[in-house]
């Protein structure tokens, strides 16, 4: 398991953000790191926790990924049960609707860091909260890494989670 506390402690400078991200070489990433630090510092509540992606039916092309994230000090979700529910019980209409909402709400100035912005009232997130205690959103699957990244950095402000996920190095 990644050392979430150590990662949280390293997020005090833009360099700390750059060191953690999976996308160091991207154009403009240094400027984004500065903005990401501001987002992190201005958040009303924040945590570094666990991330996991699950494939879901109903998508076209590469398909959908359900991005789930949670604070492991508060909850230990059963990942097998989540995978099963995503395949069988999750309504496809809800998945498709959430993909549209999430894509519209994304922060495209923050493509490398806090790109996803998830409202607490989003139906799909509430669905996963009620059953598993994890938050979630749906996007197109862009990269195989979307499925097995393991760290979520979540900065909450005004009832909206800003989500940045990456793979821990250890």
């Amino acid at each position: 398991m990644p050392d979430y506390a150590a990662i949280a402690a390293s997020l005090t400078t833009p360099e700390g953000f750059l060191a953690a991200t999976d996308e160091k070489g991207v154009f403009g990433v240094k400027k984004q790191a500065k903005a990401a630090l501001d987002t992190w510092n201005e958040a009303e509540s924040r945590y570094v926790g666990a991330y996991r992606g699950f494939t879901a039916p109903g998508g076209k092309g590469t398909g959908f990924v359900i991005r789930t994230y949670w604070d492991p000090t508060r909850i230990t979700p059963d990942l097998d049960a989540i995978a099963l529910a995503a395949q069988t019980a999750l309504p496809v209409a809800m998945t498709q609707a959430d993909e549209k909402i999430t894509w519209k709400a994304r922060n495209n100035k923050q493509a490398s860091f806090f790109i996803w912005q998830i409202g607490h009232q989003q139906a799909l997130s509430a669905w996963f909260q009620e059953r598993f205690g994890v938050s979630a959103c749906v996007t197109q699957l862009f990269d195989r890494a979307d499925l097995h990244q393991d760290v979520a950095v979540v900065a909450t402000r005004g009832g909206v989670d800003r989500l940045w996920s990456f793979t821990a190095r250890n």
């Binding site: 049960a81 099963l84 529910a85 069988t88 009620e130 499925l147 097995h148 793979t167």
Partner: protein
Amino acid sequence: MASEPTSPPRGRRLGRMLWGAAGWMLTAIGVVAILVLAGDASVGGATRTVVAVAAVLAVATPAAVGVAYRLLRARNRRIESRADSSPLSDRAVRAQTLLGSAALRLGADRAVDVGPTVLGDHVRISESTVRGVAPTELLGFLWVTRPSQPEDFPRSPEFAGLPEAVQDVIVLLDLRREVELRGAAAARAATSGFYHHDAERTAAAVRRSGNPRLRAEFFARTPRTETLLAALDDPMTWDGALHA
């Protein structure tokens, strides 16, 4: 770290490749047969008939199996949802499972949409599915599949049709989840929620469990979340219900 978490074992991959190769070969033989027949006038009528029948069967069988599965499943559901009826026969349950996996194997999806339904049937909790689960695996099965049940599962005929002991296990597993998600006090005071059962129903299941520490903590004036979770995780809680 970069390993594929979902790649199947090598034996199964090889098996799937062989199946795929066999399918391609059969297709190729069929195409060659049709070409030869079309070009050669000396081939007899009997041979032509055999090839024509085989072609029609290859096209129609998957769809027919898919439809048969759908019909049988609807029938089984109807019988099971009647409160007064006797449990489904083993034969009906086996036939449904068999048709379901046959439909998946034959790729009936292209004609009739069966994929999610067959998967969903594997994870449904009801008298007929629980019957086939070994006692040692029942707890794990119920734990993993419970979140995939419909919203009103605690009030559904499926739940009502389960043996009392299995109902107790589900109620206690739901209590376990509710306590972890909301905390002990909120879980006991709750009146709604995905994992919520009537207060009396939960109390009855706790009373019947073989764990005095669970009873003590659950009925305490101010139950503590940590202690209640520890008591629920104690194997003693489940022994009584699972080996009844």
